[in-house]
């Protein structure tokens, strides 16, 4: 069987849990086996109802704790694997998935492949497709083992739909509380600050291509001339050139403006996750192979330091001296 471990946070199943079912069902069909889903902690009965989608055979509920704790997840998943003996264990390639899946693989001495974007199984060999080198290449990784742990990338499989008639089983896990060395004490949201970019209709977003903080006035002049809302990719916020509330992406804000102009942004998957729902996407980048062009509607393969000043002048703005 395939065992997929669902993810939830603060009372809600995360979308990737339903994507995990789709990926798990495809893999289960390849190996001609059943798909079991486990949900650990929180309101497990309510979660089980939502996880009862097409393709799910059995749902294991583990009523222990409210929120994710990697020690609990590790112990419970190890016990589930020992009890059920699945061929493959799937978890989301999320921050929490990567906080416990490697521990499960290590504890059980199983191979681990993370961040899968494709899965096929044939004659006992699992092939996992995954990116390398900042998504410049994709690879196929063959796993020569009877059992393996795989984490799957969010947003790459469609969420499972429909309603199944899965059997719900309460799994009686034994959690050794004394072995838990981490305690979650709370959650904290990034400060909202002066602007909520998720409400913006027109966003000009800047990335690593701006090179230096001293060059930011160029983009600020464009924003000024066009009335756009300024946003950025992660490196700009990491460098503290812009505050966290301007960050678009997986660990920042999800935005859906009418127009999103990505300037000097390569289009890493974490960034794309935050802006792919924009109506019209324009990319300006010197690298014609940058992944941002894959999701762009319009592209300028060129140097932002040449294009942006021209654009500012188009709208009657003043080009700063950078």
């Amino acid at each position: 069987m395939i065992l997929a471990v669902a993810e939830h946070r603060r009372g809600e199943l995360r979308d990737v849990s339903l994507e995990l079912i789709t990926a798990g069902r495809q893999l289960a069909d390849d190996v001609d086996t059943a798909l079991h889903v486990a949900v650990i902690g929180g309101d497990v009965d309510r979660f089980a109802e939502r996880l009862d989608r097409d393709g799910v055979d059995v749902i294991h509920t583990v009523d222990h704790g409210e929120e994710f704790n990697h020690g609990v997840y590790e112990q419970v998943t190890v016990q589930l694997v020992e009890e059920l003996d699945p061929e493959y264990v799937l978890t989301p390639n999320s921050v929490n998935g990567l906080d416990f899946a490697p521990a499960v693989a290590t504890k059980l001495d199983l191979p681990l492949v993370t961040d899968a974007v494709g899965l096929t199984a044939d004659d006992g060999t699992l092939t996992v497709n995954r990116d390398m080198y900042g998504s410049k290449v994709e690879t196929a990784v063959g796993v020569d083992a009877d059992q393996a742990v795989v984490t799957i990338r969010g947003g790459d499989w469609a969420p499972a739909e429909g309603t199944a008639d899965a059997e719900v089983r309460a799994f009686d896990a034994e959690v050794d509380e004394s072995a838990l060395g981490s305690t979650v004490t709370g959650f904290e949201a990034a400060a909202e600050g002066d602007v909520d970019i998720s409400e913006a209709e027109f966003i000009v977003s800047i990335g690593r291509g701006i090179e230096e903080e001293e060059n930011l006035p160029l983009i600020e002049a464009l924003v000024e001339a066009t009335g756009a809302t300024l946003a950025s990719s992660r490196p700009i916020v990491d460098n503290e050139w812009l505050p966290k509330n301007r960050q678009v992406g997986q660990s920042g804000k999800v935005v859906t403006p009418d127009v999103y102009v990505a300037i000097g942004i390569s289009g890493a998957v974490q960034h794309v996750a935050g802006m792919k729902g924009s109506d019209t996407i324009v990319a300006i980048n010197t690298d014609p192979n940058a992944p941002i062009f894959d999701i762009a509607d319009y592209g300028i393969a060129g140097d932002l330091f040449e294009v942006v000043p021209e654009l500012i002048e188009e709208f009657g703005g003043e080009v700063p001296d950078v």
Binding site: P102, D109, L112, I295
Partner: protein, 264 residues
């Protein structure tokens, strides 16, 4: 308190490159200290400057060429380094998470650090799992994707923020000894000073073979094999604006006016 920082020299691929089999030829590659590890090194050095850590040791798995990269960690303030390499590792195309954790576990057991810092992931193979696998291997506690660290050495607790998706931090107390995987943005990595670079030349880089660590070639073989490498299918349907910068800008300006987002 002793801090061990694991660092990796990563391969970076030029904008224009070719693929040969399951490899990218040398002429399209550059080598650098992994970006995430740079933040881990900085965090370790700051703990030392704050008087919390007595010693910061850098550890890496890599051939002789990687000494240049590990010297960068030394130039930024690490006290000494351990570099693990072996002929048996030359032949391994894809060193998997389990193998890396087995090697680093031996280094941890020899050094007995109170805290291990490592980058969230490597920029090249991007498994993002070695730190947690290492922690489980050596029986340390751990936290993945840490973007804030407040260490209470007396209590033996690391108060950390874990950066979850969607701009939410999880606040967690982690018992020491522990492995923390460090996220970019947690600090501002310094540039090595000239003085630091000079000093780094005199710092020790101890070379260890698998045999020195009590491991054999079989321990690093792993069950993963890179069977294919290809350029991702581009689904690009982008319309490209042609011409010089002025012409391109004019076309974009028209687009923005037509979309009704700019009045000017």
């Amino acid at each position: 308190m002793k801090v061990l920082v694991t660092v990796k020299e990563v391969r970076e691929v030029d904008d224009e490159f070719e693929i040969e089999g399951t490899e990218i030829p040398e002429q399209y590659l550059e080598y650098d200290l992994n970006e995430w590890d740079d933040y881990a090194v900085e965090e370790g050095v700051q703990l030392q400057e704050d008087g919390v850590a007595d010693e910061v040791v850098a550890a890496t798995i890599g051939p002789e060429r990687t000494e240049e990269t590990i010297r960068m960690a030394l130039a930024k303030g690490a006290d000494r380094a351990v570099r693990v390499w072996d002929d048996a590792l030359e032949d391994v195309e894809l060193l998997d998470v389990g193998a890396k954790a087995r090697i680093l576990a031996e280094v941890v057991e020899e050094e007995e650090p109170d805290l291990v810092l490592t980058g969230v992931q490597a920029g090249d193979d991007a498994f993002g799992a070695t730190g947690v696998a290492l922690a489980r291997k050596v029986g340390y506690e751990w936290a993945a994707v840490v973007n804030h660290l407040d260490l209470d050495a007396d209590e033996g607790v690391a108060h950390v923020h874990r950066e979850l998706e969607g701009g939410i931090d999880e606040l967690t107390d982690v018992e020491l000894p522990a492995v923390l995987t460090i996220q970019t943005g947690i600090n501002e990595p310094r540039y090595a000073s000239l003085r630091g670079i000079r000093q780094a030349q005199r710092k020790e880089i101890a070379e260890q073979s698998l045999g020195d660590l009590g491991l054999s070639a079989a321990d690093v073989e792993g069950e993963l094999e890179l069977t294919d490498m290809y350029e991702p299918e581009t689904e690009s349907e982008a319309t490209y604006f042609e011409g010089d910068a002025g012409e391109q800008a004019a076309q974009l300006a028209d687009l923005l006016r037509d979309a009704g987002v700019v009045d000017a």
